[in-house]
């Protein structure tokens, strides 16, 4: 299993160079809330570093990893997160285009991640986020209203959450 994972990561890193544009790395931050009682209900602020081996005019594949923690006032279960997302162009000309000065395109994305909660009773969640509404501005994705399906691997529980907003910003 480990060998397969390592081979997959190596494959993505090397083949990615063939398809990538100038942007390959940056950060992404998101705010999410979860329905499950295994973690706190206040929003989780997730801060991640990312690497996109594939980013061209209609496809983006991104590996990322980071840390999710509290908002300012309420205690939130902290967690480490790592995942892989795949985004694809839906429409170059979209109905909300007039709202923006800069050129934008509508994309959709699917994101698979593992979230390990750092608490006295640690839980590991497998999360699948579906994002039908992601706007790409050339070096930045702004994604709103993603639905998250969460699977608690210790308790075998399926639950849900919402990613309110996610900003993916390429820096290099």
């Amino acid at each position: 299993m480990k060998k397969m994972l390592l081979t997959l990561i190596t494959f993505i890193l090397f083949t990615g160079v063939l398809f990538s544009s100038s942007w390959i790395g940056g950060y992404k931050v998101s705010l999410s809330g979860f329905h499950t009682d295994s973690i706190t209900h206040s929003e989780h602020l997730s801060v991640n570093l990312l690497y996109s081996p594939v980013l061209n005019s209609n496809t983006a594949v991104t590996l990322y990893g980071g840390y999710a923690f509290s908002n300012l006032f309420l205690p939130v279960t902290q967690s480490v997160v790592g995942g892989l997302s795949y985004a694809h162009l839906i429409a170059q000309n979209h109905p909300l285009e007039a709202l923006f000065i800069h050129d934008s395109a509508l994309w959709a994305a699917v994101d698979v991640s593992v979230m390990r909660v750092l608490s006295s009773t640690p839980h590991t969640f497998l999360n699948v986020a579906v994002s039908p509404f992601s706007l790409f501005f050339g070096q930045k994705f702004i994604t709103v209203g993603s639905l998250i399906l969460t699977y608690n691997m210790e308790m075998n529980e399926l639950d849900w959450g919402v990613k309110i907003i996610e900003v993916t910003h390429y820096l290099w």
Binding site: L31, H41, F73, L99, I101
Partner: protein, 170 residues
């Protein structure tokens, strides 16, 4: 002419003036995140509302605050405020180029919907506001509010990490 008739004519004139000038109003919709302090039930919240400039430096906002997890559309509150642009004018700039970055101070009132004796005034500092009607979009970051709950006589905070205003195309 009866009082009722006079009122009707005045209202009609007011609506006509408003409609004829609606294209000149710097207004839009706003949406954002909302993190409540101890006055609010634990959960993840979002805001959605209406924003408009009432003068070059003053804007009016009325937004609904709603929980989305764990219980969608629960604990709804109405947040109404007037904000003052500290650095430079933002609205009704005509052909003049506005400053892109600004700082806002707001005064407002928040109450629960339906009204259940939870209400109070708040003051907000928005240290980073980028954009404006001429850019069709304004982003507000890290807005921290001090809130006084009148019925319980307690002071609390709420925080809006990120809000975005989309202005109607003029």
């Amino acid at each position: 002419m009866g009082d009722m008739k006079k009122k009707t004519i005045l209202i009609m004139i007011f609506i006509s003036l408003l409609l004829s000038n609606v294209s000149a109003i710097d207004a839009g919709i706003t949406m954002g995140t909302f993190s409540g302090g101890t006055h609010f039930e634990e959960g993840t919240y979002v805001t959605f509302g209406f924003i408009t400039g009432v003068s070059k430096r003053i804007e009016f906002e009325s937004s609904l605050v709603s929980q989305i997890t764990p219980s969608p559309l629960a604990n709804i509150k109405l947040k109404t405020s007037f904000s003052y642009a500290l650095v430079a004018p933002v609205y009704y700039m005509g052909e003049k180029d506005p400053l892109y970055l600004n700082i806002f101070v707001s005064l407002g009132i928040m109450n629960s919907l339906p009204f259940d004796n939870t209400w109070g005034p708040f003051i907000t500092l928005t240290p980073i506001s980028a954009g404006g009607p001429q850019f069709l979009r304004k982003e507000r970051v890290a807005a921290l509010s001090l809130y006084y709950d009148v019925p319980s006589e307690k002071i609390g905070f709420f925080f809006q990490l990120f809000s975005i205003d989309f202005f109607f195309n003029r």
